[in-house]
Symmetry: C2
Subunit: 369 residues, 2 copies
């Protein structure tokens, strides 16, 4: 394959069919309307799943279920992170109990030695933006791997599970799935398995279907966790249900990376900054000259502005189709397409920055658990 | 070398000078009288140390210090375990705060899948015998690795430390020290490092000299923990002080092993059983016939009965020397030597079994922490 997808590296042009085939990810089944109403599912931006039918059943039967996902608290919270945030909020609206793990121990063990900074980033960047995007404190358990709970029974149970999972892991498996290994990576993987399965411990929810929405690069962690969960006979876990979203292109059509501010739009970027980034960096699928564009048309599939509209800012399928068709026919110019995005983005950021100010006051409620 | 000492295997005739040289263990320094009064130190049964002067200083200066040690809760508690128990009680009498870790996560990760059985063994075999031998609930923190504390702050802090240590460990180091590796062994090693250093966290005692008395086979864990403690800059740990005791010969002069009841005397053995084991199995340094014994004399250095008197049952140096000399000269026969041991052992077991009955009522106090 001429692309590479691991939790530590994503490169090349990703062929999602090949990826699904190699990883063993299944396409989405027929979804109930609550999911179809969400454009991420409807547009196949969330393109695959494992055992997701359990979550559909739970929703259809009005049974309890959990949504669990993790965040690596480094750098700015940008549009690449919003795709999971949008799903968290969707699941909360569908009645899921939300578990959000701040992978601060994992972050420390990879490359971020400053625990205080990690915790600040988790709160100021991630949690505050989640709340501003609509996350509610009710039914939400937001925690740090390094400080699981103020309830000792819960804390002990969570860490015990991570500790016991070690017995059921093998080097060969880690190596086959992760490639190069280190004690820190092994620890991270065992903590992640506990993050994903511990909601099912009796100290938490008990046996419960658990949805884990992730980017496709996180599937190796899921595969390890699934195997560990199966082998762990001390508990009777229900297997995890996971969904996979496609990667969001970086502004310049390469990787969206926290270490390069010209590759992303952060949710704390000012409207001016964001506008400037779109104008200056957003990779265009249009032709070099207006004449040529009118004649040959643009390519929306590689145009970053179009992609951002598709993934985040134009939930109306008809309107999106018109933009798509007009751009493809050459009727819509790149500058005009960018203007559409900028207007939508401006409205979003304006409202979001207001919401962030309100959210800052709510943060404490989330940290009370 | 024609002996092997690892945490998982001890075999061959151990040359302690070579062992100290290879491991980097130092001989005991001049000890204050509180230690000299204890025959384990005085007779060089505790033969080596690392950084033990810190503990001596703390005692001399009446400063706070900690004694931490762990136990693997498998099988019967036998004389091979009593040597560390005797030290625990010595340190408690010297004013140390005692930390006792039940390595149940480590046990699960090695070969003991039944967590309930592990916890029962820890309490019925280890803790009850410790109490019967004189351990007091005051200043004693007895805990399970799987359930660190009823205080959530303490629990979180302990596990966090184990999690963060992973960053500072390398495979090469693990491999060099442990040989063959597995995720379970790595986890065990990181938990052990947290066991040894966590008493110094602010949630526990704060920076404090910490004595770790262990068998010589446990030094690899100490070496890893010392390195991790040094590299961990988030905390300002005082380096560990450790002491090393010699191995107790098995009854038949091979390994004292929990899996072979003829190799040990358990502290719950009845007086009849224990007597029978000494008579039947205790390896003799005497000669094949009485005549020959009278003529050539016996070898107390390889005689198991003599060794048990030396390590456990005859604290009076003069009396021990007389037994030694009489046996060596041939004046004392093997059967007579065994009778001396049996009398001492009978007195000990009788009193100990009584103490165990009292201890059973005190167990709960220790589990309240």
């Amino acid at each position: 394959m001429n692309f590479k997808v691991t939790p530590w590296e994503v490169k090349g042009k990703i062929d999602y069919d090949k990826l699904m085939n190699e990883f063993g990810i299944k396409p989405l089944p027929k979804l109930p309307k609550q999911f179809e109403e969400n454009h991420l599912f409807r547009r196949n931006i969330i393109f695959g799943q494992r055992d997701f039918s359990r979550i559909i059943d739970a929703i259809n039967n009005k049974q309890k279920f959990v949504m669990m996902t993790g965040l690596m608290p480094s750098g700015k919270f940008h549009l690449g992170h919003k795709i999971v945030a949008d799903q968290i909020i969707l699941y909360q609206s569908l009645g899921a109990k939300i578990y959000l793990a701040v992978a601060d121990i994992e972050a420390y063990n990879s490359r971020h030695p400053n625990m205080k900074e990690l915790q600040e980033t988790a709160i100021k960047e991630y949690l505050t933006n989640y709340i501003a995007l609509g996350l509610k404190p009710k039914n939400c358990d937001f925690y740090f791997q390094s400080k699981r709970s103020k309830d000792a029974k819960k804390a002990n149970a969570y860490y015990k599970l991570a500790g016991l999972f070690a017995r059921h892991a093998t080097f060969n498996e880690f190596r086959a799935i992760y490639g190069e290994l280190s004690p820190g990576k092994i620890m991270a993987s065992l903590y992640q398995a506990s993050d994903m399965f511990h909601p099912q411990l009796e100290e938490f929810e008990g046996q419960t279907p658990t949805a884990v929405p992730v980017g496709a690069d996180q599937d190796p962690h899921l595969r390890i966790a699934r195997d560990l969960g199966t082998r762990m006979k001390l508990y009777n876990f229900i297997q995890l249900s996971s969904t996979y979203n496609k990667f969001i292109q970086g502004l310049r059509n390469d990787k969206m990376s926290s270490s390069d501010p010209t590759s992303y739009i952060a949710l704390t970027d000012s409207i001016e900054e964001a506008t400037k980034k779109v104008k200056k960096y957003a990779f265009s699928g249009g032709q070099p000259t207006i004449d040529e564009h009118r004649k040959k048309g643009g390519n929306p599939n590689i145009d970053v502005s179009y992609q951002l509209l598709k993934v985040f800012f134009e939930p109306d399928d008809k309107k999106l189709k018109k933009i798509h068709d007009d751009y493809k026919s050459g009727k819509l110019l790149t500058s005009e397409l960018k203007s559409i995005l900028i207007e939508k983005l401006t409205n979003f950021l304006k409202k979001h920055h207001e919401n962030r100010r309100k959210a800052e006051k709510e943060v404490d409620k989330f940290l009370q658990n």
